[in-house]
C-alpha cells in the first residue's frame, strides 16, 4: 500500500503516468488497484481507522491480486472531485469514498470513467458504476440506548452529533427510543459539533453536557476525546464509536460500536476481479456482522448486560426492530403506528426526533 496526502498525490500521479514506459509485460495479470478516499486519517481511532482496517483485511484476503492506495484528509467538497479523478486516471479500477459529503463529486467523476467502479459509503444515490454501501449503526445504537436508559442516575442522557444528516438523526432516534423503552423518564440532549473532526470542541461539548447533569452519552464523532473527558470527570460513561476506545477510557467506555468493513471490501474487490460487480446498495448491520457491539465494561450490572444482549439478539433474529411503532415524536405527534415500522426506504426521509429528544 502507499500513503498519500492530498497535497502530493499530484506529483505521484505524474510519476505514475510515466511508469507504463518502463515496460509492464512482466506480470501475467496486473493486480487490481483499489483506491480509498478518507475524510480523516487512519490514526483517528474511530471511523477512518475502521475503514483502514477493512482495507488491510482486503489486502490480507486477496494478497497479490490487489494493491491499494489511501488518500487521507480529503475535505468534503470540490477538492475531493480532483482526488477521485486523479485516482481514476492512475488506473484504480475500484474506488471507495468513505464519507457522505463525497457523493456529488463521485457521481460526477463516475460519469467520466464508466469502466471504473465507485463505491460511496453512507450514500443515498447510485449510478451504473457507482454503488452505495452502508452499515446499520442505528441497530447498535438501540443496544447502547438500552444500557444508557437502565444505568442513568440523573435521567439525563446526551448524544454528541457531528452534522445534522439523516444518518445521525436516526442514530439519535434509535438511541432515544431504546432508552425510553426501558426508562420512560429519560431525556436525551443533543449537541451538534458541526464537524466530523474538532477534538477541542467535542471535549468542550462533553464538559457542557456533564455540567448540566448528563451522566451517560453516545457520540457520533470520529475520535475518543469525549470518552476521555467522561473518564476524567468520573461520570458513568459513554460509548465508543467506530472502534473499541477502551484504551482511552477504561472506566468510562461502557461498550462500543465497532465497524467491520473488511468483508464488504473483500467482496467488492473480488467482484471487480471476477467481472461480476453490479450497481447495488448494501446496508448490512448486526446480523451480518458489519456492526459489532464491543466488550461490555465490567461495571455494567448483569441484568443490564442481559437486557442489552436481548436487544442485540432480537435485532439479529429479526424479532425486534429498532423503529417499531408506536413511535411518538418530541412534539407529541404519533409518527409510527402500533404494528408498523420505519422501513429502510422511509429511513432517509425522517425529519423529526423521537420523544424525549431535546434538539
Amino acid at each position: 500500500m502507499s500513503m498519500l496526502s492530498r497535497r502530493n498525490i499530484l506529483k505521484i500521479g505524474g510519476a505514475a503516468a510515466a511508469l507504463p514506459l518502463l515496460g509492464r509485460g512482466a506480470y501475467a495479470q496486473e493486480p487490481l488497484k483499489v483506491g480509498f478516499v478518507l475524510i480523516g486519517t487512519p490514526d483517528d481511532n474511530g471511523w477512518n481507522h475502521g475503514h483502514d482496517m477493512g482495507r488491510q483485511a482486503m489486502e490480507d484476503a486477496l494478497g497479490d491480486k490487489v494493491t491499494s492506495t489511501v488518500v487521507t484528509n480529503v475535505a468534503e467538497g470540490p477538492d475531493s472531485e480532483r482526488v477521485f479523478r486523479e485516482l481514476a486516471q492512475q488506473g484504480h479500477k475500484l474506488i471507495f469514498g468513505t464519507s457522505f459529503g463525497f457523493g456529488d463529486y463521485m457521481l460526477k467523476v463516475a460519469k467520466e470513467f464508466p469502466d471504473v467502479k465507485f463505491e460511496w459509503a453512507t450514500g443515498n444515490a447510485t449510478a451504473p458504476n457507482l454503488s452505495t454501501y452502508n452499515a446499520k449503526f442505528h441497530e447498535g445504537r438501540a443496544v447502547l440506548g438500552t444500557i444508557a436508559g437502565m444505568m442513568t442516575e440523573t435521567n439525563k442522557l446526551a448524544y454528541i452529533g457531528s452534522i445534522p444528516i439523516p444518518e445521525v438523526r436516526m442514530g439519535i432516534n434509535s438511541f432515544a427510543i431504546a432508552a425510553r423503552k426501558v426508562n420512560p423518564d429519560v431525556s436525551i440532549k443533543v449537541v451538534y459539533i458541526d464537524s466530523w473532526f474538532d477534538p477541542a470542541k467535542e471535549a468542550d461539548a462533553t464538559r457542557a453536557l456533564i455540567d448540566q447533569g448528563v451522566d451517560i452519552f453516545a457520540s457520533h464523532m470520529d475520535g475518543p476525546v469525549s470518552l476521555q473527558i467522561a473518564e476524567e470527570r468520573g461520570i458513568i460513561g459513554g460509548f465508543g464509536q467506530g472502534a473499541d476506545m477502551s484504551a482511552f477510557a477504561p472506566k468510562a467506555q461502557l461498550t462500543s460500536i465497532i465497524d467491520v468493513w473488511g468483508p464488504h471490501y473483500i467482496e467488492a474487490a473480488q467482484q471487480v476481479l471476477d467481472g461480476t460487480w453490479v450497481e447495488s446498495s448494501t446496508w448490512p448491520g448486526l446480523k451480518e456482522g458489519e456492526v459489532v457491539i464491543g466488550p461490555y465494561n465490567e461495571k455494567i450490572p448483569a441484568d443490564v448486560v442481559a437486557a442489552a444482549e436481548k436487544v442485540r439478539m432480537g435485532i439479529i433474529d429479526g424479532s425486534l426492530h429498532p423503529f417499531a411503532g408506536p413511535i411518538m415524536d418530541n412534539a407529541g405527534t404519533e409518527r409510527v403506528a402500533e404494528g408498523d415500522i420505519i422501513d429502510d426506504g422511509e429511513f432517509w426521509a425522517v425529519d423529526w426526533y423521537a420523544a424525549g429528544v431535546e434538539a
Binding site: 468542550d204 457542557a208 475520535g223
Partner: protein
C-alpha cells in the same frame, strides 16, 4: 442558570480561550515588530505534538511545555531565516510554514496516536482546586495562569520599556529605527522567536488541558482564530485578552446553550457554528468605522526590510 452551571461554563470558557490567547500574544509581538507570520497554526501543531511526545515519555508536563516552546521557536527560525535573512515574501512563507507544521506534526505524531495522556491539572492543593466554588479561581492548569502573566508582561514590555519602544519603532518605521542605529533584523528575529515560543506553548494546551491525546490536525484551525484575534484586538494586549475571552465565550456558550435544550435549538446549529466568524466581521466593521492610529496595523507590517547601505 444555576451557580454550578455558571462555574462549569466559566471553567470551560477559560480552557477554550487560553490557547488562542497565548498564540495571539506571540503573534502580536511579531506583528508589532513588522513581521506577519501566518504560520501560527503550523507552529501550534508542532508544539502540540512535541509536548505530547515529551510529556508521554518523561511523565513531566513542564518538560513537555519547555520542549514545545523550543521546537516551535526552531520552526519559527526557519521562517525568520527565509523572510528576514533572505527577504522572502512573508505571506507565502507563513502559509508554507503552516503546511510544513501540519505535515511534520502528522508524521512525527504517528508513533503517538492511540495513546492517552494524563491531564496537566491545577497545582493548587486539592481542597482549593476541587472546591465546588473556589475551583473557578484555583482549578486551572498552570498554563492558564501563565497566559494571564504573559498578557501583563507583554503589555508592560510594549508600553513601559525601552525595549518595547524600540520594537514598536522597528515595526512602525524600519528605516528610522535603522538610521538610529538599531538592528531592525535582530529585533525582528527576537520577535519572531517569541511568537514561535508562544505558539508552541499554545499548542501544548491541547494535549495537556483540552484533549489529552494526539491526533493529526489536533488544533483544528485555532491558529487562524489567533491570527484574526490580533487584528480584532487592534494590536493591543489588553484588548487581545478581551477578544480571546469573547471568542472563547462565543465558542463555549453555543455548546452550553445546546446542552441546556430549549431556546438554543430554535436556531440551527450551523448558525451557532458561524457565530464566531460573524462576531469577527462585526468587530472589524466597527473598528474600521472609527479608524484611528490606535486601531491600525503597524506601518511596516509584512514589508521586508532591505537596508540600502
Amino acid at each position: 442558570m444555576s451557580p454550578d452551571l455558571l462555574i462549569g461554563l466559566i471553567i470551560t470558557l477559560v480552557g477554550a480561550s487560553t490557547p488562542i490567547l497565548l498564540a495571539a500574544l506571540g503573534e502580536l509581538v511579531a506583528e508589532k515588530s513588522g513581521v506577519l507570520n501566518l504560520g501560527v497554526e503550523g507552529m501550534m501543531l508542532v508544539g502540540a505534538v512535541i509536548c505530547f511526545a515529551v510529556t508521554y515519555n518523561t511523565g513531566n508536563p513542564w518538560l513537555g511545555i519547555v520542549a514545545a516552546a523550543l521546537a516551535s521557536t526552531a520552526v519559527a527560525m526557519i521562517f525568520a531565516v527565509l523572510t528576514l535573512g533572505l527577504s522572502a515574501n512573508q505571506v507565502a512563507t507563513g502559509l508554507a510554514l503552516t503546511i510544513f507544521g501540519t505535515g511534520f506534526s502528522a508524521l512525527f505524531g504517528r508513533a503517538y496516536t492511540g495513546k492517552p495522556l494524563a491531564l496537566f491539572k491545577s497545582i493548587f492543593p486539592d481542597w482549593l482546586a476541587t472546591h465546588p466554588v473556589l475551583k473557578v479561581l484555583f482549578g486551572y492548569s498552570p498554563l492558564v495562569y501563565f497566559s494571564f502573566a504573559m498578557v501583563a508582561l507583554v503589555w508592560w514590555f510594549l508600553a513601559k520599556t525601552r525595549g518595547g519602544l524600540i520594537l514598536r519603532a522597528v515595526g512602525e518605521s524600519d528605516i528610522s529605527a535603522h538610521s538610529m542605529g538599531y538592528s531592525v533584523i535582530g529585533v525582528r528575529y527576537g520577535a519572531v522567536a517569541f511568537g514561535g515560543a508562544m505558539a508552541g506553548i499554545a499548542g501544548s494546551c491541547f494535549p495537556l488541558m483540552l484533549t489529552p491525546q494526539w491526533v493529526e490536525g489536533l488544533t483544528a484551525g485555532r491558529g487562524w482564530i489567533a491570527l484574526a484575534l490580533v487584528v480584532f484586538g487592534a494590536w493591543r494586549p489588553i484588548r487581545l485578552l478581551g477578544g480571546a475571552y469573547l471568542f472563547g465565550l462565543v465558542m463555549t456558550i453555543e455548546l452550553y446553550a445546546k446542552a441546556g435544550g430549549g431556546v438554543a435549538h430554535v436556531l440551527p446549529s450551523q448558525f451557532w457554528a458561524a457565530l464566531p466568524y460573524l462576531a469577527t466581521i462585526l468587530v472589524l466593521v466597527l473598528i474600521s468605522l472609527r479608524q484611528s492610529s490606535n486601531t491600525s496595523a503597524p506601518a511596516c507590517l509584512g514589508k521586508p526590510f532591505l537596508p540600502t547601505n
